[in-house]
């Protein structure tokens, strides 16, 4: 893949099971392409520093900060945004456990916790806390978020 700086390059992005051809500049972040070109505004623009996790998406199942990724880097990855997780158990668990206050951090947290529950179906509290370090909640509702994750982990662990 060689992207010519003088014009935009067409790349294919695989998001939530669909393939999209998008025109990108070399310096376009994955976050901007998802939001501005694909209309997937679930990933939020916030610190743009990799600190807060509001822009989290899954790349091949692993949480990454889309503000620190260039769109061109993601062309051979399978991406998932919050829009692809509609109706998932983790989303319902956030609702059931009141793990949402202002909601701005919620998409990032849900994707991160979905990846956690997928990769570690029997995650200990220690592992849950370590994973939650990737995201910040300015309303500080961490306890409810942790309880939401615990409820999903317990459910899948028993299955």
């Amino acid at each position: 893949m060689i992207s010519n700086g003088k014009s935009k390059t067409v790349i294919e992005l695989h998001v939530n099971g669909d393939s999209h051809e998008v025109m990108v500049r070399s310096g376009d972040t994955l976050l901007d392409i998802l939001r501005e070109q694909l209309g997937l505004s679930g990933a939020k623009r916030s610190c743009e520093n990799g600190d807060c996790g509001a822009c989290t998406v899954l790349a091949d199942g692993k949480p990454i900060h889309s503000c620190l990724s260039l769109a061109i880097e993601s062309c051979d990855q399978s991406l998932m945004t919050i829009e692809g997780l509609m109706g998932s158990p983790i989303q319902q668990a956030f609702v059931d456990n009141w793990a949402i206050q202002c909601g701005f951090c919620t998409p990032g947290f849900i994707l991160n916790c979905h990846a956690l529950a997928t990769e570690h179906p029997n995650a200990s509290d220690e592992v849950i806390e370590e994973w939650m370090c990737s995201n910040l909640c300015r309303c500080t509702g961490y306890q409810e978020i942790k309880e939401a994750v615990q409820s999903v982990v317990r459910a899948s662990g028993n299955a």
Binding site: G5, G27, D28, D32, E36, L68, L70
Partner: protein
Amino acid sequence: MGTVLSYRLASLEETIAQLSREDCQIMAGGTDLMVQHKSPMGAPARFDKPVMFIDHLKELKQIDQVNQDLHIGACCTYTEILEHPLIPNIFKVAIKQIAAPAIRNRGTLGGNICNASPAGDTLPLLYIFNAQIRLRSSKGERVVGIQDFILGPRRVDRLREEILTEIILPEMLADRIVFEKVANRRADAIAKISFAGSMRLEGGRVGEARFAFGAVGPTIVRSLDIEQKLKGEAFPLDPKVVDGVVAYFDRIITPIDDHRSTAAYRKTVALRLLRHFLETM
């Protein structure tokens, strides 16, 4: 203008060939590079050179043991290193203190080294392990010690056509290895001070002691002279010997005041970490 070319080539061979023709900004994870080059509010990131992505290259993602040495591909992410059975436990202790899992899914060991931040979290351990850096270009290969590779803040001894391909970790025999990171919070924090130390005892005496400080000078601080002098000292060390070592580092470490900490705090804590390391086993 900030728009430039970018390359994401299929093999290491092609990547090296292109680097021999053109000076590029190599990106191996980019978790710090993107912070340095970002633009506000949706404008594209600005680079003054073409961007060469290398962290997808399979050739740079191997971890192998060769004789007593561990060879770690430069573009292994922290997550991949953390999950690998051959990696020494103390590196896992250190990596768990780097950023947070989502950053560790992108950040790479080679990137951390070439970024050459005085506060680079993996660097003090790489120094005390006497890590070797393998570089490759179209002209050939060379291997250089990490202490010679890192020249200063953001400056490394890498020619523009070279790629850091792997980090070689010689086996280290030690009775105790420690890594300490002092930062504002547990996750996503840049070190105010970091410290790595190892000690091997032989019949009640110091067989070998190695220690290095991060974030208290332009590069990692280590003194082979002092380490040599400690060899053969009875352990536990005589308080006068400990005082002497601490006084020596009081003179040679030169921390700065910045938004993360003060020079005075950094020096005080660094010397206490050293004293604690020398006094305990």
